[in-house]
């Protein structure tokens, strides 16, 4: 059996005031584990983007951090609304962020592309009315 660290962080929809807290704790955990600077930077960026996505777009969900000796995995699971066209959602500059999010300076349409760019492996599964699951892994050398 491999060693595994798993931590779950609930993320509330629309909670802009606490957005980024899960990311801060995740970064702290990885620094304590001694994860190297380069991986840390990739995880930081992707983690904040995915946390923010849960706040802006989802009806609520959770962020799960898993650490294994060879990789770090971030999983974002929400309870809806689901993405009708994933390919479109992955396009740079495309955003469905609402007025409130845009007023706060979000919704540049770079969230998902940024996650994909920073993760070693990126997977997104979504079903309208059910929810979205994003799985990102980051290889540890």
């Amino acid at each position: 059996m491999g060693v595994l660290i798993e931590k779950t962080f609930p993320v509330e929809a629309g909670a802009y005031e606490t957005a980024g807290e899960a990311s801060t704790t995740i970064k702290r955990t990885l620094k304590q584990l001694g994860v190297g600077a380069e991986v840390l930077r990739h995880v930081s960026v992707a983690c904040y983007e995915v946390e923010l996505n849960l706040v802006i777009h989802s009806l609520g969900g959770e962020l799960i951090l898993q650490v294994e000796p060879e990789k770090v995995t971030l999983i974002s699971k929400d309870v809806g609304p689901g993405i009708p066209d994933i390919e479109k959602a992955m396009t740079e500059g495309y955003s469905t962020a609402n007025e409130e999010a845009r007023t706060l300076g979000f919704g540049a349409g770079m969230g998902l592309p940024n996650m994909k760019r920073n993760a070693t492996e990126f997977d997104i599964q979504s079903e309208v009315g059910v929810g979205t699951t994003i799985t990102m892994s980051f290889a540890l050398k």
């Binding site: 060693v3 980024g20 620094k31 304590q32 930081s44």
Partner: protein, 430 residues
């Protein structure tokens, strides 16, 4: 790794009352109270001086050199920090202060503000390079650089590879004095008049280069009395000031940004505020930001714990002394190439926050920490001697604390034991 760790910030054990004030304020969780007094974990301390500021019993002190240190040198040059100019109420001309310094036994004075002029120019050049990761982070505050080494190792690449104004000033001062008076550089001692302990540490234990060009640091607090007396007598006989208003402006938070990159830059003061913004930089939240100036002290260097004057009063005096609207950096031709302004050594991460060098072992420790943490009350009261319940759990796992150091856990344990005694008493009665 640094081999020898010099720290300016020290504890005077007999004054320490083992309260939790410093414990709570330390930005790198470097303080523990054990055995009736605080102690500082050397590997984690960044010499920011927060604990000096919050200690009501003056048990935290900064070790600096006494003024008498200059007597060991044939030629002595004072390097006043720009923030020194903000310490005197009725100072009309900076030259007057510089003349007063000469009365204290210095053969010459070289303004660190002029070093700041040169450094400002060098940073402007660096900012033209698009390949440097953005935002470029100032290297001026040594406590912030060390904070990044300990808590933000992934931002080390952002730190600009240019030496601090103090270093640059010392290099230029020595070379110019040696040439002018036909003496050898090694006979000249340069002494920084410092507002903070972090600079003292930076001299003894430089970060981006091998040896400091500065030979000692005298605290502003120590020199204030004699300097005030000299100032009253010192006439303004000559125009000694050579620094620009940009250079002097470095004394306060935002001054470096003004001199380097007035538009897409951000100046943050106070170490807790710096931590918050560095977290955002780490997450790529500050898109478009070109330059970040962080100062550990509130207000910037005028807020240094070794200053005499109140931060805000000093900041106000500086404001009255400088006018950057028409300022121009005073950098002579050739200065950019004649001196080695750049770091000669890579800045390395400080691994003091790591649980273990081995990832798997670190993961095992983290599992244990989570288990222990779940049993703790979460009051973060500090009574156990660790700053928070979480750090207490870490300390237990690292073998530096015992579970019964927690008075709340101890109380629970006593309750169980008391109940057991009652139970025993009841059974024996029957």
């Amino acid at each position: 790794m640094e081999q020898k760790r010099f720290h300016s910030v020290r504890l005077e054990r007999d004054k320490c009352r083992a309260c939790t004030n410093c414990l709570k304020r330390c930005p790198t969780e470097a303080i523990r109270v054990r055995g009736g007094s605080a102690h500082i974990i050397d590997e984690r301390c960044i010499d920011c001086g927060e604990c000096i500021r919050v200690c009501d019993y003056h048990a935290k002190v900064a070790v600096t050199d006494p003024l008498s240190v200059i007597e060991g040198w044939k030629y002595k040059i004072a390097l006043p920090a720009p923030s020194l100019y903000g310490q005197f109420k009725n100072l009309q001309h900076i030259s007057q202060l510089l003349a007063a310094l000469k009365e204290l036994g210095f053969d010459d004075v070289f303004e660190v503000a002029r070093g700041a002029d040169v450094v400002s120019r060098a940073i402007r050049e660096r900012l033209k390079k698009p390949d440097l990761p953005r935002p470029v982070i100032s290297s001026a505050c040594p406590a912030i650089v060390r904070l990044i080494q300990v808590r933000f190792p992934d931002l080390i690449d952002h730190i600009v590879d240019i030496r601090q104004p103090m270093e640059v000033a010392a290099m230029i001062a020595k070379k110019e004095f040696a040439r002018k008076h036909q003496v050898e550089e090694k006979e000249i001692g340069c002494f920084f008049l410092t507002p903070c302990p972090a600079k003292m540490t930076a001299i003894q234990n430089p970060i981006g280069h091998e040896k400091s060009a500065v030979d000692g640091a005298i605290s502003v607090m120590d020199i204030y009395g004699p300097l005030s007396a000299a100032l009253r007598k010192a006439p303004v006989v000559e125009e000694l000031q050579t620094s620009s208003d940009f250079g002097v402006g470095w004394a306060r938070s935002g001054g470096e940004c003004d001199a380097v990159c007035p538009t897409e830059s951000m100046a943050v003061d106070g170490i807790a505020n710096c931590i918050r913004v560095l977290e955002e930089i780490e997450d790529n939240r500050l898109n478009g930001l070109e330059f970040f100036e962080g100062a550990a002290c509130t207000g910037g260097c005028v807020g240094g714990p070794l200053n005499f004057e109140n931060t805000y009063v000093a900041r106000n005096w500086i404001r009255r002394l400088v006018d950057i609207r028409n300022a121009e950096l005073n950098v002579e031709a050739g200065m950019m190439t004649k001196y080695n302004l750049y770091d000669s050594r890579r800045i390395l991460p400080n691994s003091a926050m790591k649980l273990d060098d081995d990832l798997v072992e670190a993961m095992r420790k983290m599992e244990r920490i989570e288990e222990i943490y779940a049993t703790l009350p979460g009051y973060d009261c500090g009574s156990c001697g660790s700053p928070t319940c979480r750090t207490f759990a870490e300390d237990i796992v690292q073998g530096n604390a015992r579970e019964m150091d927690c008075i709340h856990r101890m109380k629970d344990q006593l309750r169980v034991m008391a109940q057991q005694m009652v139970d025993i008493a009841e059974t024996t009665r029957e």
